[in-house]
Amino acid sequence: MDPMTLIESYVDDVARRLPRRLRADVALELRALLTEELAGRASEAGREPDEAMTLALLRGFGAPADVAARYRPGGFSIVQPQAAPGFALLCLGGLGLQWALTLPGVFLGAASANEAAVRLGSWWLTGGLGAFWWPGFLVTIAIIAGWITQRWPSHAEWAPRRVVDPDQVSRPLLSLGLAAWLVGAGIVLSLPWVAAHGPQPLARIFAFDPAFLRWKAIWLPPLWAGHFLLYAVVMRHGRWRPLTRRVGLGFTLAISLLCGWWATGPIFTAPTTDGLPRVALAIIAVGGLLGAVVGLWREQTRLGRAALHPAMM
């Protein structure tokens, strides 16, 4: 290809990536400069410029997109490099979560492989592709945030975060909480009696399963009493201490396991009444167990930090 045609093509590729007001002027200058560069190289080589020499010059100059970026004034980043991993995780995590919630239903309700394939195709056109609203939404928010940050950069000086002592407790708030707990516990513990002596049809609807009351429910009062006593001790100290933290974790674990145990069998005699509380108890059990695991992990990291800074214990 003719060297000038190559240069022309290259200049066009750069110019079309530039703001409209810059295109003609930059193209004119770039064309002139590249032509002189090529003439200089040809003179050094002692021969006429050819296609290979021109391509070497243009490739050395850079990809048109890169060159255009060098001509442009600095823009704004949609996602800052340091935020990119978190942003990608948020995008892909949200996408994955939506698929995880909708995709199993496609296969669970299918009677045959063919039906599953048809349902999968239908899912892809609805829930599958539809889940991409989430990355799109995040990118839109990031564009707006990036533009605002570039337009009105923050000049706020860094200030240390308020140091919160996680072990300190507010006595007034804790005493209020304990009072509310007593009232709530009184209501819950009196439910069997209320259900047994209430008017019909409420008594029938909320009748407790006798086996539940005999074998399972009896563990709740002592656990609650112990837990309540623990909080009373913490209130007296005004803060959590290593021993009370660990005993507290033990109570959380025990109550979660109790809730999980309750959820495995009947609580009420009426099946319609029995369903929802058991689901709620299962959720409480899972939440409590997760809380206990997080608490244990924090206790371990606290021990690690304490080895470095004993004052933190």
């Binding site: 004119l28 770039l30 002139a32 400069l33 004034p73």
Partner: protein, 119 residues
């Protein structure tokens, strides 16, 4: 500027680090040559002749950016050849050159001292 190991082999990544060092002084180098009007190609030749080769893909856009920042003036001229865009320092550019020259000399002295201590 480029050091070699005792075996004569260049340490890994030296070229990149050397480029980074040079990148830091490109603007100052360009400003020094624009006390007199120059167009892109002649400027690149002048810099190369003084031991400061700069890739054309870096230099030409840089001239535009410096002009956009208000430190260079430019004009199209037709002399003994095709039309060429000539760049020259304006008052703001001359002030910037003075300030950067002071910074460079200070930095150079500091680096000489630091390198001297380690040598």
């Amino acid at each position: 500027m480029v050091a070699a190991t005792t075996t004569g082999r260049r340490p890994d990544g030296l070229e990149k680090l050397d480029q980074e060092l040079r990148r830091g002084v490109v603007v100052l180098a360009v400003l020094t040559q624009l006390r007199e009007a120059q167009y892109g190609y002649s400027l690149r030749q002048a810099l190369a002749a003084n031991g400061m080769p700069i890739e054309e893909g870096t230099l030409y856009p840089l001239l535009r950016r410096l002009e956009g920042q208000g430190v260079l003036d430019s004009e199209w001229r037709i002399e003994d050849g095709p039309p060429r865009r000539y760049y020259r320092l304006n008052a703001a550019g001359a002030a910037l050159l003075s300030a950067l020259t002071i910074s460079w000399r200070d930095l150079n002295a500091v680096m000489d001292r630091l390198i001297g201590e380690g040598a």
